[in-house]
């Protein structure tokens, strides 16, 4: 009898609980209506590793309008896990999502997703050779993927393995091209700049630089500038002073231009649109003229005390106005900030981004 009572009372009670969790609510939304500025700057927000919360922020330097999370808001599709870099070719934008092993392709003006390139191990940067050929560097594949952006397929690979288990070399990073040669820096526990013949799709040379070349820029004279952080203290790979190096156009030798003190770890080497001034983060933001007679110039001081806690996480220079954009990831678990400065380092604007802003891409 009592059993029956329990069933009569209990079952309806249980069934009435259906759908307590509103987990899917996130996906029930309307695309927000906004006018997309024709020209603007994408901020690439890495998000947190394994959280899948990478995003893109869009900023119009003219009206100072900020549009949050444009890719997700437009496509109801999360970008993925750790957005690393972005390239624009004609009307399409290619955003490389490192820990999702893919590149999303979307219209740079409507943000509507057009396709994807998948099958990449741990992609970092994309570089166009032609309309039908691009290279994608990789942290773990020990090869550079050759992709066809039109068919959105991986068509080949350029092996870059040194066939040695130690330090997992080579992890390829940024790419710059001079003539038919593509230069890529091997940053992680490494000290090489590899030279790839883009007609033959193979490594033809390597240039030794200081330890851990983390970023590169090419100046108006086609000199390749390489910023090396020198590695970390206590690592078996070893540590040396950081250095800014120059590789003359077509040369296979790197010469040291700036020597840093052992505790400095500079990063994010960038160049302005006219190719005559370099910029980098070394706690604060510095500029350095490529044919300088003087040393680097302090341009933007970090607001972090003693620069010990450094939220300055990304840097870019507007190729047209030479204005400087600095990304600050704060504590990496909240929305970051971007500070915009005049070419002389005077504050112009600040705006909030997504989580861990690390890179920029100009849509002009």
């Amino acid at each position: 009898m009592l059993i029956r009572k329990i069933i009569y009372i209990g079952l309806p009670l249980l069934l009435s609980l259906t759908g307590c969790m509103k987990d899917d609510e996130l996906w029930e939304f309307e695309k927000p209506a906004y006018d997309i500025p024709y020209a603007g700057i994408f901020v690439i927000n890495e998000g947190n590793f394994m959280y899948g919360n990478a995003s893109l922020t869009y900023y119009d330097p003219e009206t100072r309008q900020v549009i949050d999370d444009v890719f997700f808001q437009t496509n109801a599709l999360p970008l993925g896990d750790v957005a690393h870099s972005m390239t624009i070719r004609d009307s399409l934008a290619y955003v490389v999502i490192n820990n999702s092993g893919r590149i999303y392709i979307f219209n740079k003006n409507t943000f509507e997703v057009k396709g994807k390139i998948t099958g990449l191990t741990s992609p970092r940067y994309m570089h166009f050779i032609s309309e039908t050929k691009a290279y994608v560097t990789d942290l773990y594949a020990r090869s550079i993927a050759v992709v066809n952006p039109q068919t959105m397929e991986v068509t080949g690979a350029i092996p870059v393995s040194n066939n040695n288990g130690d330090f997992y070399q080579h992890a390829t990073e940024q790419m710059l091209q001079y003539d038919r040669f593509v230069y890529t820096n091997c940053w992680s526990y490494d000290k090489q700049v590899l030279v790839i013949d883009s007609e033959e799709d193979r490594v033809v040379d390597s240039i030794e630089v200081r330890k851990q070349p983390n970023s590169m820029a090419m100046d108006r004279y086609n000199n390749l500038w390489v910023l090396c952080d020198g590695g970390t203290e206590g690592s078996p790979y070893g540590k040396e002073a950081a250095g800014l190096m120059r590789i003359g156009a077509g040369s296979t030798e790197a010469e040291l231009v700036l020597d840093f003190s052992p505790e400095e770890m500079p990063r994010d080497l960038k160049i302005n649109g006219t190719g005559d001034t370099l910029y980098y983060i070394n706690g604060d933001v510095y500029s350095y003229a490529v044919n300088a007679s003087a040393g680097p110039k302090l341009l933007v001081e970090s607001p972090y005390e003693g620069s010990m806690l450094n939220g300055f996480y990304g840097l870019e220079v507007d190729p047209q106005s030479s204005e400087i954009y600095v990304a600050d990831a704060v504590d990496f678990v909240q929305k970051g900030m971007v500070y915009r400065f005049s070419p002389e380092g005077v504050a112009v604007d600040t705006f909030r981004t997504g989580i861990a802003p690390g890179g920029f891409c100009f849509n002009f």
Binding site: N75, P236, V330
Partner: protein
């Protein structure tokens, strides 16, 4: 008669831990069921908030992991990284390393990372589970700013021989096998437990992280994916030997070894090659502890020595053309700890009791990644001395003063005092007003100090100042027992360690946060008997406000005054267990309010986890076949088949089932 046997078996399990502890006040025997009142007015425990997890719960969840039990039956919040994956605890809004975990008196927190992965502890190896909330944990050791979780094994001196086997078969190719063999007499008891758990864990889910994009229309659809690379396996052995040469001597030796192998799933959005980004983790544990307890005329002496060793390997493999599958990360660590305790206590029978103890522990860690070569070696010596004095006044007031002084690598830490009090509000009634006031310290972990790169040897210990108060009430009615407690606490934790990026480009731990954790804990337990039914109801509710009050890193830092990530403001659970004849039925409910994943408590839809409500039910039957006690139980998890996440973009399984079969001689 069959029914009687079953009820007595259940009741026996319910009562025996209390008997052996000598804690029972009075025993009410109503028909076949014994209901035992707990002794809640104990001067040695004055001011301390404790939870003794019921043996019915331990038995019901024997085939699960401790992480499941803690989240469903206690006020500890478990951050679960997926089914079978890493599960860490937050006690009263604190960090995983602020919960001290012991097994038979030795601490089992990793000296490397400070925390415990509760998904690796099977409930099956637990005979007694005790939680000390907040400063109560100072009775055993320092460092438990959030509290402590204490796992104990004990001898059943009435056992002559016993064999028990438990088989679980569940969804997603989940198989659990547990075997227990005991033999002994009044002088010696030997018990062996063996277990093996495996799950392919290949549930399917609607994958929002991957899009199929129609090349013509541009329409987006999401695939149904399988939770690949998520299998887990563990097996282990628990061996106990107890020897009682005389009634006042007890010697014991216990060993617990376990091997666990887990693959760690790729991000759900991963679209790289199948044979890349393959992550796996192996945990190898050996723990051994030997005790000598002597009950003399003047007091009780305890000598204990223990050794714990943990090997933890983490690998990431990728397919490289021409080379095959090669490691990108091959990190191996070995942690060794040596524990020694000497304690002497006296006067427990009188109005005034005291206890003195000395702990001498040593930890050594070696960690290295054979790919990058990065690694470190670190060690630490800890000496802790404690003196406590407790006084009872006319069965109305208990006072408890515990003083602790510790040295780490020869350096003296500040003094750790605890003062607690119980007040019996009405004579003869178990209605107590209780409270305590304490300071506690938590040492940086060896990773915090020495991790390569980033370890910061200049870190200071985290320090917590806690005040708490509450009411406890116990009442036995005819055939029913009510036990309920309400606690309010406030903890200020300074020098809170977090890892943040440094100008060097890697992350470093720093003492920069200050956290104010305030909250309320309420729990109620009602058990008894209505005509032919025996029932047990228990529920907990927690309000946890854990707010960052550290100086902002920069003006744009919006984390000040915000709830810590992944800590729900409201949490609660409820369990109802009903027995009728040889049938039993259990309903389990567990809920959390939303959790933030950003330190700024972003309310944007993408950055928070939606409130969680979980319903599980199970039903079973016990029966007797000649000399065998058998039991068969069917369990339904996620009864309402709800899609949910416990971390971002890691969908959890929908409704799933398990069949549990037990056989006992």
């Amino acid at each position: 008669m069959r029914r009687v046997a079953c009820i007595i078996a259940m009741a026996g399990l319910l009562v025996s831990p209390l008997y052996s502890q000598g804690m029972q006040d009075s025993v009410y025997v109503i028909q076949e069921v014994a209901i035992t009142k707990e002794r809640i007015f104990v001067k040695e425990q004055a001011g301390m908030k404790q939870t003794q997890v019921d043996s019915v719960v331990l038995q019901n969840k024997a085939h699960l992991s401790l992480s499941d039990l803690l989240s469903e039956n206690t006020s500890v919040f478990i951050k679960n990284h997926g089914r079978g994956a890493l599960a860490t605890a937050s006690f009263r809004g604190t960090s995983p390393s602020h919960t001290q975990v012991s097994w038979n008196g030795i601490n089992i927190n990793s000296p490397m990372a400070g925390m415990v992965d509760f998904s690796l502890i099977p409930v099956y190896i637990i005979d007694e589970l005790n939680l000390k909330h907040g400063s109560a944990s100072l009775a055993d050791r320092s460092g438990g700013i959030g509290g402590s979780i204490n796992i104990n094994n004990r001898a059943d001196w009435n056992d002559k021989y016993s064999i028990a086997y438990l088989q679980g078969i569940g969804s997603y190719s989940t198989f659990d096998e547990f075997l227990q063999v005991g033999v002994g007499n009044k002088k010696i008891q030997i018990k062996t437990r063996l277990y093996h758990n495996y799950s392919k864990n290949d549930y399917t889910f609607y994958n929002r992280g991957i899009a199929n994009i129609d090349p013509v229309s541009g329409a987006i659809s999401n695939p149904i994916d399988t939770n690949h690379n998520a299998s887990y396996m563990r097996y282990g052995l628990l061996q106990e030997i107890y020897y009682r040469p005389a009634s006042n001597h007890l010697l014991s030796l216990k060993y617990w070894g376990q091997f666990a192998d887990r693959t760690i799933p790729k991000p759900t959005s991963y679209e790289g090659p199948d044979n890349s980004n393959l992550n796996s983790q192996e945990d190898r544990d050996h723990r051994v502890v030997a005790d000598w307890k002597y009950y003399g005329n003047f007091g009780k002496l305890l000598l204990r020595s223990g050794y714990a060793e943990k090997g933890l390997d983490y690998k990431q493999m990728n397919q490289v053309p021409g080379l095959g599958l090669i490691p990108a990360i091959w990190s191996e660590s070995r942690q060794q700890s040596l524990y020694n305790t000497f304690s002497y206590s006296g006067g427990t029978d009188g109005d005034l009791s005291w206890k003195g103890s000395i702990d001498l522990n040593y930890h050594k860690v070696r960690s290295a990644d054979s790919v990058s070569g990065a690694g470190y070696e670190g060690q630490r010596n800890e000496l802790s001395t404690m003196f406590a004095v407790r006084k009872s006044f006319k069965d109305r007031v208990n006072l408890n003063l515990m003083l602790r002084q510790e040295w780490v690598d020869g350096l003296r830490l500040p003094f750790i005092p605890y003062f607690g009090m119980d007040l019996r509000l009405i004579e003869g009634v178990d209605l107590l007003l209780k409270g305590n006031l304490a300071r506690n310290y938590h040492l940086p972990t060896l990773n915090d100090l020495y991790w390569q790169p980033g370890g910061n040897p200049d870190l200071l210990p985290e320090v917590g100042y806690t005040v708490e108060g509450g009411l406890a009430y116990q009442q036995a009615f005819s055939g029913h027992l009510l036990l309920t407690e309400l606690s309010l606490y406030r903890s200020q934790i300074d020098n809170w360690i977090i890892w943040i990026p440094s100008y060097r480009g890697y992350w470093e731990p720093r003492n920069i946060r200050s956290v104010l954790s305030k909250g309320l804990e309420y729990n109620i337990q009602l058990q008894g008997y209505i005509s032919e039914f025996n029932y047990r109801l228990s529920a907990t509710y927690g309000y946890t406000s854990a707010v960052n009050q550290g100086d902002p890193l920069i003006w744009s830092d919006e984390s000040y005054g915000k709830q810590l990530v992944y800590i729900p403001l409201h949490s609660g659970n409820m369990m109802a267990h009903l027995g009728w004849g040889n049938l039993f039925f259990t309903y389990q409910f567990n809920a959390y309010s939303e959790r933030y994943t950003t330190s700024s408590n972003d309310v944007s839809r993408r950055d928070k986890l939606y409130p969680y409500f979980m319903n599980d039910i199970s039903a079973g039957s016990t029966f007797r076949l000649k000399r065998l006690d058998l039991s068969l139980e069917f369990k339904v998890y996620n009864l309402l088949n709800e899609p949910y996440h416990t971390i971002l973009y890691r969908p959890m399984p929908g409704r799933n089932y398990q069949l549990v079969f037990k056989i006992q001689i």
